[in-house]
């Protein structure tokens, strides 16, 4: 069963074609790891899946839980259960983190957090930030922790995570990745995680990995194996490599 199905997806950013006819599916209840060098189109892919307006879909079809969402708004996608974390989330002056977290939980500004919610905010080491303006003066790690906590509070069915592990220290990585895994496991939801590093694989259980290079997919296989190859050979060599399977992950082949 796939939660997301992408057929022949092409995406333009400011008149430049970034993604060229991508087709793939994400398996329900599984985490998927997307590798790729800078500028390969990874952020464009999650942005286009989420429906962000700067990413213009020029062809193809995106189906989420059986619903064609190709022309649906960001809000509609979010309400269906698709969420994304931003690599560079905006600073919003005057809007407090506490207020945004409450909105994510579907609460109003005057509602209080439950004990369980408070405990999670504390675990994310964000209690001291509740009264701060969103992302204003937050460090890289604080931004990532805030992003992931917001997503967990939104109770999504599919998490699109754009480099949740970049710019964070070892301890934050363990926390972020551990909480992602805990949420995915408990809720049976799916994830697509963009990363440059393999460390996240120590915490997130993922069987499916692939490489995006020059707007096209290469090498669908186990993420640990991909990471080992990239470390040894680099991206260019890796995509031309020995274990190349470009036709998609195995679970796809039966369809």
């Amino acid at each position: 069963m796939s939660i997301l199905k992408v057929e022949d997806l092409s995406v333009k950013v400011e008149d430049k074609l970034i993604l060229k006819g991508l087709s793939f599916s994400l398996k329900s209840g599984e985490s998927h790891i997307l590798f790729g060098p800078n500028g390969s189109g990874k952020t464009t892919l999650v942005g286009a899946l989420m429906g962000l307006p700067q990413f213009e879909i020029t062809s193809g079809k995106v189906t989420f839980m059986g619903i064609d969402i190709t022309v649906k708004s960001v809000e509609e996608r979010a309400k269906l259960g698709m969420v994304m974390s931003f690599q560079n989330p905006p600073e919003i002056t005057g809007v407090k983190l506490a207020d945004l977290l409450k909105l994510c939980l579907g609460k109003s500004a005057t509602d209080a957090f439950s004990e369980e919610e408070k405990a999670l905010i504390d675990a994310f080491r964000l209690t001291a930030f509740l009264d701060r303006d969103i992302n204003v003066g937050f460090s890289g790690g604080e931004r990532k922790r805030s992003e992931i906590l917001q997503l967990i509070f939104l109770k999504p069915k599919l998490l699109l995570l754009d480099e949740p592990d970049s710019g964070v220290d070892v301890e934050s990585l363990r926390l972020i990745a551990g909480e992602i895994q805990r949420y995915v496991e408990r809720s049976g939801s799916s994830a697509l995680i963009i990363t440059h590093k393999g460390d996240i694989l120590d915490y997130v259980k993922a069987k499916y990995g692939c490489i995006l290079l020059d707007g096209k997919f290469h090498c669908f296989t186990h993420p640990t194996r991909i990471y080992e190859e990239i470390k040894k050979l680099g991206y260019e060599e890796c995509v031309a490599c020995r274990i190349r399977t470009t036709e998609g992950w195995k679970f796809e082949q039966g369809k």
């Binding site: 989420m50 962000l52 307006p53 708004s73 960001v74 809000e75 979010a78 309400k79 969420v83 994304m84 931003f86 989330p89 905006p90 919003i92 002056t93 005057g94 809007v95 407090k96 207020d99 945004l100 909105l103 994510c104 579907g106 303006d133 917001q150 939104l154």
Partner: protein
């Protein structure tokens, strides 16, 4: 610090909620004197509040404070008030007194085509500390009205006066406040202006004269222009006192057919004075217009006056970001607007902050 809620409720009854009910001018007038006596009772020995005309009869010395800071011949509006005026309020904060209270002052316009002309005098005596909030509310059924108000404010040696004005006019009102303040040695004057509801035309340019050594003035404004409002809001600080300082912070939001001009002038006239002006404007759509005009003058060596101004359209990136958190576009815009109109720039104590925040948010919601 606590807001005396008894007064607050009285003032709300008299004004803020009154625009929803049909209320006659006479009845309001009765209510107003009730408030004056209630305030005087509650703050006995700390404050005296009365009608300016009555005060002039009671205190012969008060004449010296009239038309001292504002020039009678400044323009047609000051001339009109000088010729014929209906009253206003006189407020004296006693030496060393510390008070915080919201005052529903003066200005409920109910009669049709009424041209209101008032003259207010505020004296913060030496060493006093006061937070005053006044709100001018207008009956929404008045088809065409104007408000001409002259205010002269004296902040004496070592006194602190934080004066917040909330204007809630109707779409048909012409508003011409003419205010000026004189600030003495080590005295501080904070002038906050909040304008949330559509208004026909407001033009104001209050002046502060920092004459005392180490005197300071802050002008802060939160302005929300919508409908066909025309808001031309400025402030002027003239720094002649040794070591005097001025700070101006404004947050302006313009949408629909509104036109807003935000001015600020800091005139550095003493060698070691300091000033900073900050203006941030947010445009919600392509119909509105927003202009920021900062002016800085240096007359002496070593004057340090700076400004930062930024006007721009609401950020699509911020809107989209919030939409990924299951918000609709409208909800996202409203959240950004409410955040932008950050009441903490007004420097009020928590209790008053919460009251103002409520008014600001209610207006943002309603639009």
């Amino acid at each position: 610090m606590k807001v005396p809620h008894q007064v607050l409720e009285e003032t709300y009854k008299a004004g803020m909620e009154a625009d929803e009910k049909d209320r006659s001018g006479t009845f309001y007038h009765v209510d107003q004197s009730t408030i004056y006596s209630k305030v005087n009772e509650l703050f006995q020995g700390k404050i005296e509040l009365m009608d300016t005309k009555a005060a002039l009869q009671k205190y012969s010395w008060l004449g010296e404070y009239m038309w001292k800071l504002v020039d009678k011949d400044k323009d047609e509006f000051t001339r009109k008030v000088a010729e014929d005026w209906s009253g206003g309020y006189f407020m004296q904060i006693m030496p060393g007194a510390e008070i915080t209270f919201p005052l529903q002052s003066c200005l409920l316009i109910t009669q049709k085509n009424l041209e209101q002309r008032v003259h207010n005098i505020i004296i913060a005596e030496e060493g006093s500390k006061a937070h005053i909030i006044t709100s001018c509310v207008q009956h929404s059924s008045v088809p065409k009205a104007s408000h001409l108000g002259v205010s002269e404010i004296y902040v004496k040696k070592g006194a602190t006066l934080n004066f917040t004005m909330i204007h809630q006019w109707s779409e048909n009102t012409l508003v011409r406040p003419r205010s000026a303040a004189e600030i003495g040695d080590r005295a501080a004057f904070v002038s906050n202006y909040v304008c949330m509801r559509p208004v026909r035309d407001v033009q104001m340019y209050p002046a502060a004269f920092c004459k005392g050594a180490d005197s300071t003035v802050s002008f802060n404004s939160i302005l929300y222009g919508h409908g066909n409002s025309l808001l031309d809001i400025g402030s002027k600080a003239v720094l002649t006192g040794k070591g005097s300082k001025a700070e101006m912070v404004s947050r302006a939001i313009a949408r629909e057919g509104s036109k807003m001009i935000i001015r600020g002038l800091i005139d550095g006239g003493s060698a070691d004075c300091r000033g900073h002006l900050e203006c941030r404007g947010l445009l919600i759509d392509d119909e509105a217009f927003l202009q920021s005009i900062p002016e800085l003058i240096a007359r002496k060596k070593g004057v340090e006056i700076t400004h930062e101004a930024a006007v721009g359209k609401i950020s699509e990136k911020e809107i989209t970001y919030l939409m990924t958190r299951k918000m609709s576009r409208d909800q996202a815009v409203s959240l950004i607007i409410r955040g932008f109109m950050d009441v903490s720039i007004l420097g009020l104590p928590d209790a008053l902050n919460a009251e103002i925040k409520k008014i600001v948010e209610a207006s943002a919601e309603a639009s």
